[in-house]
């Protein structure tokens, strides 16, 4: 194999590949990227056995072929090369080396045989559809914070992507929860997605996927089977196993009878929560919300370190209520609100509280209160 490629193009293609590669590996070849050159294209393939990324870029291919080298090392080398450089990659099969040359720099990297590289088996996808990048971006971005890290409940370690019925018809829905808070985000159902099986997309996949979704104009080809999910653009394909488990029935968890309504400026609220939580030294910082006629008092009382209080003007017309929350949870859900006021719906100080943006029910958050 021998190719020449522009440094910027190569760096972009490699950056996605090297981020999938696990830093600590027991199987040496998993640290490598598989480079395949054919026609006028070169592809870079990396995997951790759960996720596989294939990145394609145009290149001048002098000699077609394939080999594997350390993904991180190749990425580092290319990153450090001067901008605009033309990089040549030449494989010496006999020596088991890949020679990288750019200007006056020459590098030799050890290769491993391409035959040893594990290529993810192609699945039969039950459903194929196309969705605009911003739609998918919103679904995953708003749900992501609630993903559980608790390994005993492995089926919560991802975003549950499935088809459901929203207020105005069928929706593509993303749900994540860790048992303390829950996010339920809806998007209009893309054409052809109706038959999609529900899948739990693992956290790492959600993070890797994010880079695909940055381009507002991009259309993402989504393929879903019971065991795998694939997101593809013309240059990048990300295939991932899904979590083999049953996502719990989240509908029971979302309160429907909460009537005490608080409306507050989300940014102002978040800043106030952040300020009062400063005095608490405990890891789970509890903030008390005391609600009275159009008045919200946020307070923290940490016996060892001190106390703090802040008052906010809000819209609240129900009975007096005192309820506690983990400050981190409040901050995270408040930061999901970006257009309108945050609307909280409470029941009692022991029941789950619902939060949404204005009257928009396409993004709903539930948070469990804390005893204070």
């Amino acid at each position: 194999m021998k190719i020449s490629i522009e440094r910027g193009t190569l760096l972009k293609a490699l950056s996605q590949a090297q981020s999938v590669v696990e830093r600590r590996n027991t199987i040496p070849i998993l640290a490598n990227v598989l480079i395949e050159a054919e026609g006028a294209n070169v592809s870079f393939r990396a995997t951790d056995l759960d996720i596989e990324v294939v990145d394609r870029a145009p290149a001048m291919v002098e000699r077609a072929g394939a080999t594997t080298v350390s993904a991180v090392m190749l990425h580092e080398i290319v990153r450090k090369l001067p901008e605009g450089a033309l990089v040549s990659l030449a494989e010496d099969g006999a020596a088991g080396r890949l020679t990288i040359t750019a200007g006056r720099s020459t590098f030799n990297l050890a290769t491993l045989p391409k035959e040893d590289f594990p290529v993810m088996a192609n699945a039969e996808y039950a459903s194929n559809f196309s969705a605009p990048a911003p739609l998918l971006r919103r679904l995953f971005d708003k749900a992501k914070f609630a993903i559980s890290t608790e390994e005993t409940r492995y089926y919560l370690n991802g975003v549950y992507l499935h088809v459901s019925t929203g207020e105005s018809g069928p929706v593509l829905r993303a749900v994540a929860t860790d048992g303390h808070r829950l996010a339920r985000i809806d998007a209009p159902l893309p054409e052809g997605a109706a038959g999609m099986p529900g899948v739990i997309v693992p956290r790492k996949t959600v993070n890797e996927l994010r880079k695909l979704l940055d381009d507002d104009e991009a259309q993402i080809a989504v393929s879903v089977s019971e065991t795998k999910v694939r997101f593809a653009t013309p240059v990048l394909t990300l295939t991932s196993k899904v979590i083999d488990g049953t996502f719990p029935d989240y509908t029971r968890v979302i309160p429907t009878g909460n009537t005490r309504r608080l409306e507050v400026d989300a940014a102002e609220f978040a800043r106030a929560v952040d300020r009062v939580a400063t005095v608490s030294s405990e890891r789970s910082r509890a903030v008390k919300l005391s609600l009275d006629e159009d008045r919200l008092v946020l307070s923290v009382n940490a016996p060892d370190s001190g106390a703090a209080e802040e008052e906010l003007a809000v819209a609240y017309g129900d009975e007096r209520l005192e309820i506690g929350f983990n400050a981190k949870y409040l901050l995270e859900i408040a930061s999901q609100v970006d257009r309108e006021n945050a609307v909280f719906l409470f029941n009692s100080s022991g029941d789950p509280t619902l939060m949404r943006e204005g009257n928009d029910t396409s993004a709903v958050y539930v948070v469990m209160p804390m005893r204070v």
Binding site: S148, G179, H180, V253, N326, P352, M368, P369, V372
Partner: protein, 421 residues
């Protein structure tokens, strides 16, 4: 030479280093040592503590060999000095102890009573110094440096007063070791048991140690002893011949420690009892078992005991640990970090149960244990409910109600059926 009467605490100048009587009360229990007033690190160890408490509470046992320990699989916790004559020792299997001393009276340990006596002793120690490092219920290091002016008496006199007071008020005797560091104080307390008081001064340290075997060093067990023997080291005098680097090279950190200890150098401070790091309970079965139901029953009882302890101390843990010991004594532990701290039996049990379920080992097991660690204040415990387990809140409320009933009517007033298994 400085001398002290251990009975009436009179201090005087003794002409003879050994022997003689107190000029005030004519007691023969005289302590005299050239450095008597200059030493301030002490180790106090009660004499056959559990057995002494049993004898105190049941005078009929006074002249009989008494072994405290329990169960058919049990080992000797403590034995009185009469039983020791027959060769019975602590940690000896019960059947072996009874073979050596068939007439021994075996008493089940009453930990609550011992803890009570221990607290009383601790209170007496607090009158001497705040720098107390308890090693167990019946022994502790005390640092009396700088207390002589406050008490108007040297540490030796205060310590003699402490053991005299323990004997008079609690009916428990103890032995004291007084020296210039913890290592030597601990050795000293063992030199003259029971009812002893030994002093190791700076001047005599090296000569004294050179006569001792290496096993006298705290932390040198059978394994280290064997390793040392292979290197030709039996006595501390052998250690003194080794170069410091060679010892470190051969025995690692332990080597460096041995080098210092062999010279009587130990700069560890007497540390007030450290904060509790974990709370755990374990139980050994009468016969090894593979029965998961039985394990489960134990798991619940242990979780309940751990929770009781955590609640009593107002603490909560973020990590739950399951411990199992196989028939061949090898152990395995599994732990799980929680996203919020807990002190309830319900959660501790559920987490431990999940760990047990995930453990593919069939057994048989001889021991099971449950613990919590990564402790924090109890106020933060179980404060956030679980959306996906709405019953958790009810179970916790039930547990709080159960606790309240027990606090009023006793431990067995209300129990879970599960704990009968």
């Amino acid at each position: 030479m400085q001398a002290l009467c251990r009975d009436c605490l009179t201090r005087f100048d003794s002409a003879t280093p050994k022997g003689g009587r107190c000029p005030a009360c004519h007691s023969p229990r005289i302590l005299s040592h050239p450095e008597l007033e200059g030493l301030s690190i002490a180790h106090m160890d009660c004499d056959a503590f559990y057995a002494s408490v049993e004898k105190r509470d049941n005078p009929a046992l006074r002249d009989q060999p008494v072994i405290v320990g329990g169960g058919t699989r049990g080992v000797v916790s403590t034995c009185c000095y009469i039983a020791r004559i027959s060769g019975v020792r602590s940690a000896m299997p019960m059947f072996q102890a009874l073979k050596l001393c068939p007439k021994a009276v075996v008493v089940k340990p009453r930990m609550a009573v011992y803890a009570e006596v221990s607290r009383a002793i601790r209170a007496m120690m607090e009158d001497l110094t705040p720098a107390i490092e308890p090693l167990s219920l019946d022994e502790a290091f005390l640092d009396l440096t700088g207390t002589a002016r406050l008490h108007g008496a040297p540490p030796a006199a205060m310590l003699a007063g402490l053991v005299a007071r323990m004997e008079a008020e609690l009916g428990i005797t103890g032995s004291v070791g007084l020296s210039h560091n913890k290592f030597l104080a601990k050795i000293a307390s063992d030199l003259d048991k029971p009812r002893g008081f030994s002093v190791i001064g700076r001047a005599e340290t090296e000569a004294f140690l050179a006569r001792q075997p290496v096993r006298i060093i705290w932390g040198v067990g059978t394994a280290t002893q064997t390793a040392l023997e292979q290197a030709g080291i039996r006595g501390i005098s052998d250690l003194l011949r080794w170069d410091r680097r060679d010892l470190s090279a051969r025995f690692g950190q332990m080597g460096d420690r041995l080098w210092h200890l062999a010279r009587g150098q130990d700069n560890r401070r007497v540390q007030r009892d450290e904060a509790v790091k974990s709370i755990s309970k374990e139980t050994t079965f009468d016969t090894d078992t593979t029965d998961r139901d039985l394990l489960d029953g134990h798991l619940w009882r242990l979780a309940e005991q751990v929770a009781d302890r955590a609640k009593a101390k107002d603490m909560a843990g973020r990590t739950v640990t399951l411990k199992l010991k196989r028939g061949d004594f090898s152990g395995l532990t599994r732990r799980h970090a929680l996203d919020s701290p807990t002190q309830t039996a319900d959660r501790i049990y559920r987490e431990a149960r999940a760990l047990l379920d995930a453990c593919r080992e069939p057994g048989p097991f001889r021991l099971i244990g449950v613990g919590i660690s990564d402790l924090g204040p109890g106020s933060a415990a179980d404060s956030t409910g679980d959306l996906l387990d709405p019953d958790a809140g009810k179970r916790q409320a039930a547990e709080r109600a159960t606790d309240a009933i027990r606090a009023r009517f006793g431990r067995d007033a209300i129990i879970k059926g599960r704990s009968l298994r």
